[in-house]
């Protein structure tokens, strides 16, 4: 049951081979066994999950089940879920019980899916290793000395360790794709505006986008079918017809043009990762695709641009945490300003404070043009590079991350080194394009390597098909860690 596709789990549930309550209990038992080591979940509330499972069984019994009815899904702790503690990995929200549901949660509830619990993450999604969580680091099930990546590290670890059937993540600069790569799973960040951000705690609003993390492209397609759709409560949610993201899964690859950006295979990429990515591209050629070299000349500027724009937006978004309406408030203070300053100093961790300070600085008087406006102009150049590249190819491929999972503590003292782990993913967010990562091999240390697939705007169905065809021909995605 643990290795069945979501589609097959759905069939088993509808055929009454297993009930949702039994399946949910199976995962809850696995979480109880493995979470003390992996720390993938921050909050598990068995009675709530089992109540949802019972309701799902009732729907199954009367034959009104949908594709994901009764299937236990782990929710990243960035999504507000009514009655659930929603921490965003921060002390600031340690005591926050959400009074409402995020749109994504509403969608899963309407689909009859079971919320299995809230997954650990870097604090306010700021991190690439899950080490910035107030609730302690998540461990990579392939090697518990290694990080799972971040910020959706709990989700990636939980999916890889079979502590859920599938999970949700969010991606501002690579936070779905990089942990998916490091934990050997499949994850997709759809086109900006495809999934509503309502109730998803904001980090950098012009970049944040939610997406699924699962064991295969096929599973991700079923998850996206539930997650996407217009929501008037998010002013950036796009008005588009509902899509079936499974529609191109079985489309043959013959004639597919793959663009390989030469900048993604230059200095900074580990040899073992490069070898796996090249082997995956060779497999695609065997399956009928052709390869063309493309160029993204401004991609190297994506990291500096991101570390102006994302902190600028974060410094504004996180100003709401003031100790007045919800969340943490410092116990002792002299006046209102002192209360704000102590509440924020005590409630936020180091990385979050660092980014708030970068953002405050680049938006401050006298620096706005030199930093913020300059970054927004280069953002356009980066986006234009992709537009030019997609004239020559259908999808772009390259590494997701420059290396396999590094060890806990390895990059702890140097924020800049940590920031460079997202060197291949950030440009995609800046452009607002869809991007995904699929497992394509193992590196020198035996840990998973991710292949990044970048599509043109709204080409998720095509990308999922491209990924699925590879997963039909190879078995990297079905390998599981020994835990």
């Amino acid at each position: 049951m643990l290795n069945l596709s979501l589609q097959k789990i759905g069939v088993a549930l509808r055929a009454k081979q297993i009930s949702s309550v039994e399946l949910t209990q199976l995962y809850l038992d696995r979480i109880a066994t493995h979470n003390p080591v992996l720390n993938a979940y921050v909050t598990v509330e068995a009675h709530k999950s089992l109540a949802q499972a019972k309701a799902a069984d009732a729907m199954l019994a009367i034959g009104s089940a949908q594709a994901l009815t009764g299937i236990p899904i782990a929710q990243k702790d960035i999504f507000c879920a009514q009655g659930w503690r929603t921490t965003c990995g921060s002390k600031m929200l340690d005591n926050f019980i959400s009074p409402y549901d995020a749109h994504v949660i509403t969608q899963f509830n309407a689909a009859g899916a079971v919320n299995l619990g809230k997954t650990n993450m870097d604090e306010f999604a700021m991190g690439s290793s899950n080490e910035t969580s107030y609730f302690g680091p998540v461990r990579n099930p392939w090697n518990i000395k290694a990080v799972p990546g971040g910020s959706s590290g709990g989700a990636a670890s939980a999916v890889a360790a079979r502590l859920c059937a599938a999970a949700t993540g969010t991606d501002t600069g690579g936070s779905i794709r990089q942990p998916a790569a490091l934990c050997g799973i499949t994850g997709i960040k759809p086109t900006y505006g495809t999934v509503s951000r309502y109730g998803m705690i904001a980090f950098a609003s012009s970049l944040d986008q939610a997406g699924p993390m699962a064991r295969s492209a096929e599973d991700c397609a079923l998850m996206l079918n539930v997650m996407t759709g217009h929501d008037p409560r998010d002013s950036t949610s796009l008005v588009r017809d509902k899509e079936d993201y499974t529609r191109e899964l079985n489309k043959p690859l013959a004639g597919l043009r793959i663009g390989l950006p030469r900048e993604f295979f230059a200095e900074g990429l580990s040899q073992d990762v490069a070898a796996c990515v090249q082997a995956a591209v060779a497999e695609y050629q065997k399956l009928g695709a052709t390869v063309v070299e493309v160029s993204l000349p401004n991609a190297k500027l994506a990291v500096p641009v991101y570390y102006v724009l994302a902190p600028a937006e974060a410094s504004s978004n996180l100003s709401r945490f003031d100790g007045v309406r919800y969340g943490y408030r410092a116990p002792d203070y002299t006046d209102l300003t002192d209360m704000y300053e102590k509440t924020r100093a005590q409630g936020f961790g180091e990385e979050v404070k660092r980014r708030i300070m970068i953002g405050t600085y680049v938006l401050s008087h006298g620096y706005y043009d030199a930093y913020y406006l300059q970054a927004q102009k280069i953002r356009r150049l980066i986006a234009q590079d992709f537009v030019a590249a997609f004239k020559q190819c259908d999808v772009i491929m390259g590494p997701t991350s420059p290396s396999t999972a590094f060890n806990l503590g390895e990059k702890g003292d140097d924020p800049v080194q940590m920031y460079l782990s997202d060197i291949y993913t950030i440009a995609v967010n800046l452009a607002g394009l869809p991007g995904m990562s699929i497992p394509c091999g193992t590196g020198a240390n035996g840990l998973p390597v991710g292949l990044q697939i970048i599509g043109d705007y709204f080409k998720e169905a095509q990308m999922l098909g491209v990924a699925h065809q590879y997963q039909l021909a190879t078995d990297w995605h079905s390998r599981a860690p020994n835990i």
Binding site: P304, G323, R344, I358, T360, K377, A431
Partner: protein, 95 residues
């Protein structure tokens, strides 16, 4: 680029973050390293390029000006640090 102690003190004040001298110095060193990374941007000629503030070129949607949310004051205030008679309490600001 290297930030000074007083730069960092000013940023911390604007960001409403209490910091002691040790933290200010640690932040100064780390922020300076990050601004060195960011400085790579400065060499790029962006004359005539429109700033891109958003991934989708959309105008802001407006909704009808009608009541659409129900009053949930009690639910929202149940999670507030300090409330009294339906009001959020903060330290006195007016003498």
């Amino acid at each position: 680029m290297s930030l000074t102690i007083s730069d960092v003190q000013k940023i911390a004040r604007l960001a409403r973050l209490a910091m002691n001298p040790n933290e200010i110095e640690a932040a100064r060193a780390q922020l300076s390293g990050i601004f060195e990374l960011i400085a790579e941007m400065q060499a790029v000629n962006t004359t005539g390029i429109e700033p891109m503030s958003h991934a989708q070129e959309l105008s802001q949607r407006l909704r009808e000006d009608v009541v659409c949310a129900t009053n949930q004051r009690e639910a929202f205030q149940a999670i507030a640090p300090q409330v009294e008679s339906g009001l959020y309490l903060v330290p006195q600001v007016l003498e």
